[in-house]
Amino acid sequence: KVDEREQPTTNTVEEPLDLIRLSLDERIYVKMRNDRELRGRLHAYDQHLNMILGDVEETVTTVEIDEETYEELYKSTKRNIPMLFVRGDGVVLVAPPLRVG
């Protein structure tokens, strides 16, 4: 039975959280549950992915389906927040800001 995750004694493998540390003070993109996205500057984070984000733009996306035509109408609502605490359990994905691809 494996009781605990062993950490490698030599740091030949970086943890994903180490790589998030490289994004400190950079603008990042965060995908949250409930169809929310955040774009802001990462000031702090912890192992739960609680984060402090500054100068944030939050985008909430909703889909309305027309009952007759079954058309999907996507709406997004944005708001700006100067400083934001994000609770980690809502975070799905963290990445550098999206670039056009």
Binding site: R5, P8, V13, P16, L49, G88, D89, L93, V94
Partner: protein
């Protein structure tokens, strides 16, 4: 692949660098090269592409996927390795469904 038990370090060394698909319970797929992961199944993927039905977004560089949510991450093609590794990740004691089951 053999079925012997491996230490977590050995497991990590084997699967890092391989192409993977991370499938979330929400129905979104993330495809890319596995950069690293940790004991909580936090995952870093390079050259990530996000698929919802069709292709939605391209994320170049690293994408970090949070482990231990009530999403479940199935890593392909490394399912065989994972079944040797473990059946649950450490509990954080926050949510009721906070462990992974691997297909």
């Amino acid at each position: 692949m053999s079925l012997r038990k491996q230490t977590p370090s050995d497991f990590l060394k084997q699967i890092i660098g391989r192409p993977v698909v991370v499938k979330l319970n929400s129905g979104v797929d993330y495809r890319g090269v596995l950069a690293c992961l940790d004991g909580y199944m936090n995952i870093a993927i390079e050259q990530t592409e996000e698929y919802v039905n069709g292709q939605l977004k391209n994320k170049y560089g690293d994408a970090f996927l949070r482990g231990n949510n009530d999403t479940r991450h199935a890593l392909y093609p490394v399912c065989d390795l994972i079944s040797n590794f473990c059946t649950s990740a450490p509990r954080r004691g926050k949510s009721s469904e906070d462990h992974f089951e691997f297909i």
